[in-house]
C-alpha cells in the first residue's frame, strides 16, 4: 500500500522539475520534453485520485485512467505539431534556441 501523499509529492516534484526545465533551458526540444513531464505529473494525479476514490467509496470507477489516456493522446498530438514547427523553424533560422527565435514577438 502506498499512501496518497507519496503520489502527490511525486507528481508535485515532477511538475516542479518540468517548470524548472521550461524556465531555464533554451533548447526548444528540451522545453517540449519538460512540458511532457508536467503533463505526466497531471496524469499521475488523474490515475491516483480516481483509484483512491474507487476504493474509498467502494464504487469501481476508472474514469481517471481513461482521462489519463486521453491526456496522453493529446500530448502526442501536441508533440507532433511542436516538433514539426521546430523543424520548420530550424530550416529557416538554423537554430532552435528559444532565446534567439523572435518570430512571434511583437
Amino acid at each position: 500500500m502506498i499512501p496518497i501523499e507519496y503520489w502527490l509529492v511525486l507528481s508535485s516534484l515532477l511538475f516542479g522539475i518540468g517548470v524548472y526545465g521550461v524556465v531555464t533551458r533554451r533548447n526548444a526540444i528540451v522545453v517540449l520534453m519538460c512540458i511532457e513531464i508536467m503533463l505526466n505529473a497531471a496524469n499521475i494525479n488523474f490515475v491516483m485520485f480516481s483509484s483512491y476514490h474507487s476504493v474509498l467509496h467502494s464504487v469501481p470507477d476508472s474514469s481517471g485512467q481513461v482521462f489519463a489516456l486521453f491526456s496522453i493522446a493529446i500530448a502526442a498530438a501536441e508533440v507532433a505539431v511542436g516538433l514539426a514547427i521546430l523543424l520548420s523553424v530550424y530550416r529557416r533560422y538554423q537554430t532552435i534556441e528559444v532565446d534567439k527565435i523572435n518570430l512571434l514577438r511583437w
Binding site: 501523499e5 516534484l13 483509484s51 476504493v55 476508472s62 481513461v66 486521453f70 493522446a73 505539431v81 514539426a84
Partner: protein
C-alpha cells in the same frame, strides 16, 4: 545572484509549497484499487447498460489525424 539561481530558487519554493500543501492535509486512509484493463476499456467504450466515452475516443482520433497531417504539412520541404 545569477538569474539561473533565482529561477532555481523560485521553482524550489514552488515545489516546497506543493509538498507542504500536500502534507498539511489529512488525507483519508485508503489503498489503490485493483482495476483491470477490461474495466478501463468498459469505462472508455461503455457497456450495453452504461454509456462510455466512445464519442470522445472518436474525437481524439480525429485530433490525432489532424495533428499528424498538420505535422506533415509543417515539416515538409518548401519548394524554391
Amino acid at each position: 545572484m545569477r538569474p539561473g539561481m533565482v529561477k532555481l530558487a523560485a521553482v524550489g519554493l514552488l515545489a516546497l509549497l506543493f509538498v507542504y500543501s500536500v502534507l498539511s492535509v489529512s488525507w483519508p486512509e485508503g489503498d489503490m484499487d485493483q482495476l483491470t484493463n477490461e474495466e478501463v476499456g468498459e469505462t472508455m467504450f461503455g457497456t450495453p447498460d452504461k454509456s462510455g466515452y466512445g464519442v470522445v475516443v472518436l474525437l481524439v482520433g480525429v485530433l490525432l489525424l489532424v495533428a499528424m497531417l498538420g505535422g506533415v504539412f509543417l515539416a515538409k520541404e518548401e519548394s524554391e
